[in-house]
């Protein structure tokens, strides 16, 4: 049979070919690394991706702007809120829709929670694969606290779909300050513990210092962004270079490394989490407490509907508990109120004919969010780097083309070069420090 891969065609007859993956304990996600070996030394490598290709972009072309949001959750599934954000802000850029201040602050809060959980997951897996299982458990524990905070508000740990075009879906959970304070405190403790366990650990340092080194020029040439690029000393961070939301008003630093090796990628991520904790505290102080909703007599939706035939809706309506936080009184601070941008208030939908019509005008095929003709690119700082969306609109309710600029894709493209000439054991921490996320890479 004709050899299918480049490495098979080029391999010397005396060298050994070895497959790592696509299903391998250290290949989190599914990716296949083919190695041409001379004993333990890697002469040549080939990375094959595509095992998680689900046709994200094709699916988006066939969904309305509102409906495709759930697919963005499933890109980088460790920090889904940042994907939501990137997509929503691209559409908002095309619509020119203003986002209320409170929603912007909540978005920053959610982004930073996601960023920390993203970095924790990356480093936990990297440390575990280098033999430090304790670190894995510690970091997973911290991540649970962060995800608790996210879950209280969004109702889900990963498939959140919480950040919506025009704002956010609902207000923060009533006790968000308590859960956030716990999460910040526990994460700080874990970071300190992990720092103590790994920073000068000779096994960890031995496997990461001077391994997987990339030069600044190569990192730029490969289109690296995010913590991986910053580990080489280039302080490029989308939050600083092109400030979005309220990042311009917050004070935080962009940690950089020097050598561009695995250890620097670890250390940059550790320091970035500390900065993100700082941002969380600043944003929490900026978000005002939401005004309590007046008790008032609450009508059941059926009663309200019956009443609406004879009288204007004046009495508040009892909403289903899973709509908690998106009451009409709060919605003004949470989402853009211009008609076809965000979902109209449910109280109106349930209680008045006009409300019902505007509900249908949002959800009917051919109606709803329809950005003007043209194309836009917008990017946010994701866990792995610049997460960009390129959307081409033909003026209809579905994107003509939606393309994701996945930071992972560019980073994993460099893996072949980084492991060439090294030992098999070096593949593990190098791959681990890149934080490949299959969902984002393959789309």
């Amino acid at each position: 049979m004709e050899p299918l891969t480049r490495i098979q065609r080029q391999a010397r007859p005396e060298s050994m070919l070895l497959n790592m993956g696509p299903s391998h304990p250290a290949m989190h996600g599914t990716v296949r690394v083919m190695l041409e070996l001379d004993a333990e030394k890697i002469l040549n490598a080939e990375v094959e991706v595509g095992y998680l290709h689900r046709g994200f972009e094709k699916t988006c072309e066939n969904k309305s702007y509102f409906n495709l949001l759930i697919y963005t959750d499933r890109l980088n599934y460790v920090s889904p809120l940042i994907n939501n954000l990137g997509y929503c802000m691209t559409v908002e850029k095309m619509l020119g829709a203003p986002v209320p201040e409170r929603a912007q602050l909540i978005r920053v809060l959610m982004s930073e929670l996601s960023r920390i959980s993203d970095h924790l997951t990356c480093l936990a897996a990297m440390a575990m694969e280098s033999g430090a299982f304790t670190v894995f458990l510690y970091m997973m524990k911290a991540r649970e606290y962060l995800w608790d905070t996210i879950e209280f508000t969004t109702g889900a740990r990963m498939t959140t779909s919480y950040i919506r075009v025009g704002g956010v879906r609902a207000d923060l959970h009533a006790d968000w300050r308590g859960s956030l304070a716990t999460a910040v405190r526990e994460t700080r403790k874990v970071l300190k513990d992990v720092s103590g366990l790994l920073d000068k650990n000779s096994i960890f340092v031995g496997r990461t210092r001077g391994v997987g080194v990339i030069s600044r020029e190569d990192a730029l040439s490969y289109g690296w962004t995010g913590p991986c690029l910053r580990s080489t000393g280039i302080p490029y961070d989308v939050r600083k270079a092109h400030p979005y939301l309220v990042y311009g008003r917050l004070s935080f630093e962009v940690p950089v490394g020097e050598a561009g090796d695995n250890y620097d990628r670890y250390s940059v991520r550790m320091r970035e989490m500390e900065q993100s904790l700082r941002i969380l505290e600043q944003v929490a102080a900026l978000i005002p407490d939401s005004a309590p909703l007046g008790p008032g007599p609450a009508l059941e939706p059926e009663q309200a509907l019956r009443r609406s035939r004879t009288a204007r809706a004046t009495v508040p309506i009892r909403l289903s508990p899973n709509l908690e936080g998106s009451e009409k009184a709060r919605l003004a601070g949470l989402a853009c109120q211009e008609p076809p941008v965000a979902v109209p208030a449910k109280e109106d939908t349930y209680a008045s004919m006009e409300g019902l019509i505007s509900h249908f005008l949002f959800f009917m095929a051919g109606k709803g969010i329809r950005p003007p003709k043209g194309e836009a690119y917008f990017s946010v700082e994701g866990g792995n780097g610049e997460l960009g969306f390129y959307i081409v609109s033909d003026g209809s309710d579905r994107p003509y083309r939606l393309h994701l600029r996945a930071p992972c894709f560019h980073i994993v493209a460099a893996l072949e070069q980084l492991i060439k000439g090294r030992l098999i054991a070096d593949v593990i921490p190098t791959f681990g420090s890149m934080n490949m996320i299959g969902g984002e890479l393959d789309r």
């Binding site: 049979m1 490969y222 289109g223 043209g374 194309e375 836009a376 960009g388 081409v392 894709f409």
Partner: protein, 161 residues
């Protein structure tokens, strides 16, 4: 460098290769002649423009309506902190363009992705294979002519490494 002076400088440098410029939701867009994509991007990579990063490469299918595929390049200049979008149209009947491999290292994978998804050939690419789908996949899934839920034929098991 202001927007106007920048466009003027690029126009001087690229000459007739630059077919026009546009503004799209506040982003600067330049239209290139498809035949000169490689020299034009090579020139933009150098000083004074210094677009050192190839941020992204993708393609848009206008085959049915306008008989062309549109290649979209995003460049980023670290020193000037600005992005630039360049577009070049290739005929749908024979979509091909010069490769950027040799200028940027990520071009190899980005171009493989566009080839895989759209069937645009990149002349001079050293290893133009499918990347997200597999050998034996029929068609190019992001073309508009490819149905959304088309089933692919089963392929025989590989007698592989």
């Amino acid at each position: 460098m202001g927007q106007e002076t920048l466009i003027e400088a690029i126009r001087t440098r690229l000459g007739p290769d630059l077919e026009g410029s546009a503004d799209s939701f506040g982003d600067l867009v330049l239209l290139l002649r498809a035949g000169s994509v490689r020299p034009a991007l090579a020139a933009l990579r150098e000083a004074p423009f210094d677009y050192a990063v190839l941020l992204d490469l993708t393609c848009v299918d206008f085959a049915a309506s306008e008989g062309r595929y549109e290649l979209v390049y995003h460049l980023y200049s670290l020193s000037r902190n600005v992005r630039l979008r360049l577009k070049a149209s290739v005929p749908a009947a024979d979509p091909s363009v010069a490769t950027l491999v040799g200028l940027w290292k990520n071009a190899e994978w980005l171009e493989r992705e566009v080839f895989d998804m759209f069937g645009v050939r990149f002349e001079g690419h050293p290893d133009l294979r499918r990347i997200l789908t597999y050998e034996g996949f029929e068609g190019h899934p992001l073309r508009k002519s490819y149905p959304w839920r088309l089933e692919q034929p089963r392929i025989p098991l590989k007698d592989d490494v």
